[in-house]
Assembly symmetry: C2
Homo-oligomer: 561 residues x 2
């Protein structure tokens, strides 16, 4: 058998190596347009940021080691320019000699990845405007930083790569500004969680524009550039990183007549097989049915790409026996001192797909509060109100965020429920967790909501509610004095049983505390005395750091009414 | 309704608080023999070790705050001395006044915990011999350390508390020796993993005796003590910590005629109800059906105790609706720079219960190797050879061990399989994981074993095999020269295809490399050339640090034959 794999990074390299392990006698050819194979593309921003100091560490294998260890023929600087499915041949262009030739195949694997979006904005092709997609891009950016005096950089696009580049440029002492056309950064988060992320970024001296796109890049006489934004604002910068997004690199597949999805990805079935049974595809170039939303999406993630490679190789060699079950989009990004992560679908995506859900916000500590080094985290989960199936989780914190998102990921992948979150048996000793893990706490609170032991209201509605409804801050007078939601009155939890007569029975009572626990206890006391009560999800702390940021000073003056 | 809860730590306090949240009008009395309620008993060793400096941090609630917030009547320094189930009454002894009185109940909850084992060894009741069970014990130990010149301490028993005490005493600069009667430390581990733990402890200057019990404690004239071990060895010490183990504190339950299990725990059903329908029990005092082994065991863990409390309260107030599904014994302990954790059943326990299983050992990095701070971990999993159901996992490493054991815990709890490990979608960015997470890698290797893509041999058998079989070290000549398994010959992986004629076809070939990957690749090449091959699980590195430690110098001399 003769296998050709087009694309020699993540998915392609995994597929090729696994094919060899399963079939020692096969002829395997791997085609790579670039100079490098099997490199650590997720490490590129950190190499630019000098966090990874040794460039050699980015390379896992090279063409020679692939040959030596796997007996795989790797052709670098070679571009596949056409697939001829009926003849089972590929036309290749040697980029060194500029000569074309053809190779036949029994089975072909497409792992051509994705290409960065470069919108037709004036100046976008000028010097010192970069995308970060491969080693070559990275070397260019690194050289410019080292050789020119880059004092200010502009990152266009607040997704993963943009945020990682922003952090790494800041780490190098370069003043950085992030431009995002959408209303928020980090589209995998809900608006409220994205506001927390934005605050963290701004607290580290980075200027962030949201709701504001790039409209022009002009070269200045001194070598700097002027950036013009869609709202008319202008500022000077020395370098521009474009991280607006990527699209599946579907050029070859389209020309070969393979079925392409609505989002531009090559359509594959669960065996990674395209619409042509001799052609498989893996990685960023495909799109795949989303396990939660009834739609197919590209999956721009290295983890799924590597897993698809293994599955694809098994199916190619042994027939279609191993299935890929989709990606639940488990993602994570380090943002200065914070870790921001998510799995499954956020509330915005669920609403777009008309999927009924409840969200719940909880604050927890990374580990036992009495043990040194414990840090807070905020968790927002979304779940089906009837079945309790967990639909997604978002977390922002410091220590242990990566752990909890991985645990939530297993529950989302396996379509498990709030009951499972409650039962989760964490490894507990004081340095690592609490007797009730943050995952358990998220489960307990959601269970109280499902069982109607507690009813909640959401932070985005707090201001509207405060204008019309009876709002009680059940924290201590000291906490109340230091700041509260406009129009709230203060009845401390431990005094609540003595002040029941002051609370109207004919309207819904809205309570809140700092994080949600005392508000819950207050709601239990009031409900059992015949009141209709709602508790603020995430408490004052979450509200203050998200929607509370937009409350003007005049509104705040109402606080002590 | 009137509820009495006996025992006011973890399980008891959780139950009481939840009952109040569900029933504002109930009369709730909580009985506590000690002076303190709802304290952080898992933090006690760390308070002794000055890691937790503020004693107040150990206390979550006190009797007054329970009254104020939950309207719960807490009677401290009060001992329940008899339950009268037919009359639904409890006789209580006020330890201050030494007066007895009775309280009636509608429902009773037993949360009396466990008591430390103190075997009848000469000198065991002498001064400066302590157990660590409550705040009082802790204060005593702390006072002795502060006021007397404790230069040397002896910890009897190498379980959790023993190891945590050993670490904390060492942290204070006290020379420490650990005595364990069993053949290994940390019974939740298999022997090989326990050998790795022992090496880490010894590397930190602690003397460890295994297979050697305490036989006598003698007081010396200078205030020190002489410890005599079962093998006759004697040494001097200043303080003894007994952490031999605990037993369910079943005195009240037994006297009340409640059904007691074979291990001495109060038997409860999945609703936490004892054999008397008006009496429930939670925490260390119960024993419960083990989800993997067909037997019931006590569960001496704070996490399950807290969860049982919540379940118990729901069932007591609302009728038996919420189930406890058992504990998979997910546990973790910090040992100097290492973290040691496990979930499910280890191989020894599975063998004891005649449960068929395969074990597999893998080495992984906590996160991408090219990103700073990546540390190694070794993972041993056990799984059902037919169904692939994961039965247990043990991990030793530094960073990210707590994360992986929690992920494994969800899979063990939900009776999931090796396929699920392979599909696990981790949150991947270079600071947090690799494109293939350690959990995935464990799954991939186990899947290769299940699919017979690779056959393995276990490290405990390596020496016997080396004496009789054809053993190939497929590492580089440099690695081979630096040390190998006796009688191994060296054929480097990348040269293997050129040396096939030197390998006998009439016998099974045993290969190994450093961690297992190159051995796997070698086995794939050989198998496809018609050889019968086994690869060493965990590779040379695991063998060298476990069973290899026992190979004498004379045997090592055979290395270069």
């Amino acid at each position: 058998m003769k296998y050709i794999i087009i694309g020699a990074v993540a998915g392609g390299a995994s597929t090729a190596a696994r094919i060899r392990r399963l079939d020692e006698t096969a002829e395997i050819i791997m085609i790579e347009k670039g100079e490098y194979v099997s490199y650590a593309n997720c490490g590129l921003p950190y190499y630019i940021g000098d966090v990874i100091k040794d460039r050699n560490k980015l390379f896992i294998q090279d063409a020679a080691s692939f040959k030596r260890r796997f007996n795989i023929d790797v052709k670098v600087r070679t571009e596949a320019i056409e697939i001829h499915p009926s003849e089972k041949k590929v036309t290749l262009l040697d980029l060194y000699t500029q000569k074309t030739y053809t190779e036949s195949y029994d089975k072909l694997v497409l792992s051509t990845g994705a290409v960065p979006i470069k919108p037709p904005i004036p100046g976008i092709h000028s010097a010192n405007v970069f995308t970060i997609r491969d080693v070559h891009d990275t070397d260019l950016v690194k050289a410019v930083i080292q050789n020119q005096k880059v004092k200010h950089a502009t990152v266009v696009g607040g997704g993963f790569i943009g945020i990682e580049m922003m952090e790494n440029l800041t780490h190098l002492g370069i003043k950085t500004r992030v431009i995002e056309r959408a209303p928020q950064l980090l589209a995998f988060l809900d608006e409220d969680m994205a506001l927390l992320a934005k605050s963290e970024i701004e607290a580290n001296g980075v200027v962030v524009d949201v709701n504001n796109g790039l409209s022009e890049i002009r070269d200045n006489a001194d070598g700097s550039k002027t950036i013009k934004l869609e709202n008319g604002d202008e500022f000077q910068t020395d370098m521009v990183i474009l991280s607006i997004g990527v699209l599946p690199n579907n050029f070859l597949a389209k020309a070969a007549g393979l079925e392409i999805g609505q989002k531009g990805g090559v359509l594959v079935d669960e065996y990674m097989q395209t619409s042509n049974s001799d052609i498989y595809a893996v990685g960023d170039v495909i799109e795949f049915h989303h396990p939660i939303c009834n739609a197919s999406y590209p999956i721009y993630l290295a983890g799924p790409a590597n897993k698809q490679g293994r599955i694809c190789a098994n199916n190619i060699v042994n027939g279609n026996t191993k299935k890929f079950n989709g990606s639940v989009s488990t993602t994570i990004v380090k943002v200065f001192g914070k870790t921001i992560a998510a799995t499954g679908s956020n509330s915005r995506l669920l609403k777009n797909h008309n999927i009924k859900h409840i969200t719940s916000i909880t604050h927890s500590s990374s580990n036992a509060g009495y043990y040194p080094g414990s840090t807070p985290m905020v968790i927002k989960i979304a779940f089906d109100p009837e079945s309790g199936v967990l639909l997604g989780a978002q977390i922002i914190g410091e220590e242990g965020v990566d752990k909890r998102v991985d645990v939530f990921s297993t529950y989302v992948q396996n379509k498990q429920t709030i009951d499972d979150l409650m039962e989760f048996e964490q490894a507990y000793a004081p340095p690592f967790s609490s007797a009730k893990d943050p995952v358990n706490m998220a489960g307990f609170v959601a269970n109280n909501i499902m069982d109607k032991v507690m009813q909640i209201y959401n932070p985005e509605d707090a201001i509207e509610i405060s204008k019309k409804e009876f709002l009680i801050d059940v924290r201590t007078p000291e906490e109340f004095e230091a700041g509260t939601i406009p129009n709230a009155r203060n009845i401390e939890l431990d005094e609540l049983r003595n002040h029941l007569t002051e609370i109207p029975k004919d309207k819904t009572i809205y309570v809140f505390c700092e994080v949600g626990l005392r508000g819950y206890l207050a709601s239990r006391i009031l409900v059992q005395h015949g009141f209709e009560v709602r508790n603020l999800s995430g408490g004052y702390r979450f509200w203050k750091n998200t929607y509370g940021l937009t409350v003007g000073e005049s509104e705040k003056a109402f606080t002590y009414n």
